[in-house]
């Protein structure tokens, strides 16, 4: 498995979107490390349709705002260490039955992914770079001792659930809207021993989440204090484990009480310098002018493995490299922009603010999409970030437009994955 994922990764480091292009490719069975055990196999999916089909709530109705409403069905798939993956089941959405000793509930042996189903302006349903999510869940699973699977099968299962519930829950008249898909992999081992689970459960649900609104004021971020550190080198901040989310809520709540939307997580490096890592559970990007006068899009590098390799982050970097830098035509005003994954210290940001070199900043991720930042509170310092077009900056607006064009089918692009919903 490790080798196969590695191969996927390195090929994608080279090209821009090799992972997104492998969707039709067959994975070598022997490369997945569980020869003799049944692999995850989307073609074995069984279908049990609900007899209690529910009404679809209006966008931004209380049911949607609660974050509790899911579509009619879910997919579940059991795994055992002795047999591998059983046949996946599509069935009515409903509660799971877990033993009180399940190690998912005691030792946080759990990981998840988040992606969206988009209803295009052409009436088609699409996913955005779902193989990225699949491969990231493999990384998460490995880190938390959960089983492996073929990314293609994972994506096919996600797409099959979307094909069943998408037409009703995200109908054609809701073009430009989305549903939120939550694939989840948990231990289902009922032993209190702290050990690699012998049973696991993979499941996929689709939730109705509220539309991402344009915030008039932009995000106000509170830089984290030394007594609250989200992740550290040698830890697990780079994967999507439950263990990264619960423990960071306390700091997030304190920020909200003080009137901020999110924590800007800092990391104090080996030289005592405070570096920016991410904003809430989103990646953080900055457009600024360097001291030498170059226009630069900067975001923290992945090398320390202390925050998530975001798919929105990666897509923006890819698009910006292709369309705004180097040999491209440059941005709106025609000025080329340097794209840099680099350490971002708070000292540098403070200095750039004082010297009026900040162009804009934004948080990027599947949930928050591209959210302009208007303020960073760093100790006593309130750093105001420009929002030249009222509620956004030029680049945040541009990246959103580019991404939306792909997600909603206004532009043909191999990052879009069409769901065969037979409508």
């Amino acid at each position: 498995m490790a080798l196969y994922v590695q191969a996927l990764k390195s090929s994608s480091e080279v090209g821009s979107s090799s992972i997104d292009q492998i969707q039709s490719q067959k994975a070598p069975t022997t490369g997945l490390g569980f020869t003799g055990l049944a692999p995850l196999d989307a073609s074995r999916l069984t279908f049990t349709h609900t007899a209690n089909s529910r009404a679809v709530p209006l966008s931004n109705s209380p049911e949607v705002l609660s974050g509790e409403t899911c579509t009619d069905h879910m997919i579940t798939c059991q795994w055992t260490a002795s047999g591998g993956w059983l046949a996946p089941e599509l069935k009515p959405y409903g509660p799971l039955s877990l033993m009180p000793t399940s190690s998912s509930l005691h030792y946080a042996i759990q990981c998840f992914e988040g992606l969206k189903l988009y209803r295009g302006f052409d009436g088609r349903l699409r996913l955005f770079r779902p193989f990225r999510n699949a491969v990231r869940m493999l990384d998460s699973a490995k880190r938390i001792s959960l089983p492996s699977f073929r990314p293609e099968e994972w994506v096919k299962l996600v797409a099959k659930l979307c094909a069943v519930d998408g037409p009703k829950w995200l109908p054609k008249e809701r073009s430009g809207h989305f549903l939120y898909i939550r694939p989840t992999l948990i231990s289902n081992d009922p032993s209190l021993s702290v050990k690699r689970p012998a049973k696991a459960l993979f499941y996929i649900v689709i939730s109705c989440l509220p539309a991402v609104d344009e915030r008039e004021k932009g995000l106000r971020l509170l830089a984290s204090q030394a007594d609250m550190v989200r992740a550290w080198p040698g830890g697990f901040g780079y994967v999507k484990l439950g263990a990264n989310y619960g423990p960071s809520m306390l700091a997030g709540d304190e920020a909200k009480k003080k009137g901020f939307e999110q924590i800007l997580w800092l990391f104090r490096n080996e030289n005592g310098i405070r570096e920016v890592t991410e904003a809430g559970a989103s990646n953080f990007m900055l457009v600024w002018r360097t001291r030498e006068g170059r226009l630069q899009l900067a975001t923290a590098p992945l090398d320390r493995q202390i925050f998530l390799d975001g798919i929105t982050r990666r897509s923006i970097l890819d698009l910006a490299r292709e369309r705004l830098s180097g040999d491209s035509d440059g941005g709106e005003g025609g000025e080329k922009i340097e794209i840099k994954e680099r350490r971002l210290s708070m000292d540098d940001i403070v200095a750039a603010c004082e010297e009026d070199r900040i162009v804009e900043a934004f948080a990027v991720g599947t949930s928050y999409f591209v959210s302009p930042v208007s303020l960073i509170q760093y100790g006593e310092k309130a750093l105001e970030i420009p929002m030249v077009e009222g509620s956004t900056g030029v680049y945040a607006r541009l990246f959103k437009a580019w991404l939306k064009a792909i997600m909603y089918g206004l532009e043909k692009h191999d990052w879009a994955y069409l769901v065969d919903s037979k409508e």
Copy 2:
């Protein structure tokens, strides 16, 4: 709540066992911060006895070794942000029903405790310092945004479940044996929003765990490498969150593959010095002779909050201070021992090994009790630790004997909490 717990803690810092003595004391209702909401109340417990009473497995039978076998009953208690705690229910042991979106499964909003029920040589059932567990779960709950409760009520519920299942599952003829109690507090909020849960579930199960055997060879520990760090200042290593356990399994598995029993977790401090923090999920203690020739019992201090404030650790320190140091009569040979919570660097330990100053080392905790350590593998260096009495050192044997005397009723002590099992 914070104030009340604070009060409990500081009083216990002063006296030796104030927390253990408050069992009959009434907590001030107003001190718990949820006036108007129903508090956790053991007197509201309802009883539904099982109709399918199961056979008690033999000690160390496969059912016991699996870690999956629980007693006939469990206690569950629901909490909601709007109403507080509902009436707790004692009912047949069985699966929990959780929504697939429960934030316990996505964001690791979960914490637990572990304590034992002892069958004394006088035929009585006892708990050991259960208020310590209750107060620690309060600390855990606070860190992971779960609700508060009165420690007395928590302990009463634990004792009530023990009173129902103890007589059958730990009968009088099993004196000197124990069952393992697992109180667990999880979010039961079915919203995918990353937010403080509006619903929670507290439950208690009792598991049959194998007896802790004397290991002939002692524990062999593998010192952690820089690429695997369990906890860090500003994190949550000091509380009993699921998030501390799952992510550390990968390193534990690698240690086992290499023939070691546990990881010895190191922390690289701000000066680049590698300090010992804990062994697996147990605290680490060392008896050595200082360069100045003093006999010293040393263990890492709690101040950085990177490992658990273990109850066995604390009890050994308390007993050693009382019986071996200062004005006491001293240990077996009559030599007094200095008790020190101090930083323990690997460099110091290596030097002490080379200079033959190590007397013994052991890992201490509820699961592993007091387990002598025979070897620490630190990079290329294999540090052999003396075991003067074959399978143990003098002090490990002494602390075990002292603790067992209290746990199994050979010595009357206010750390023992008698369960009223009406046998």
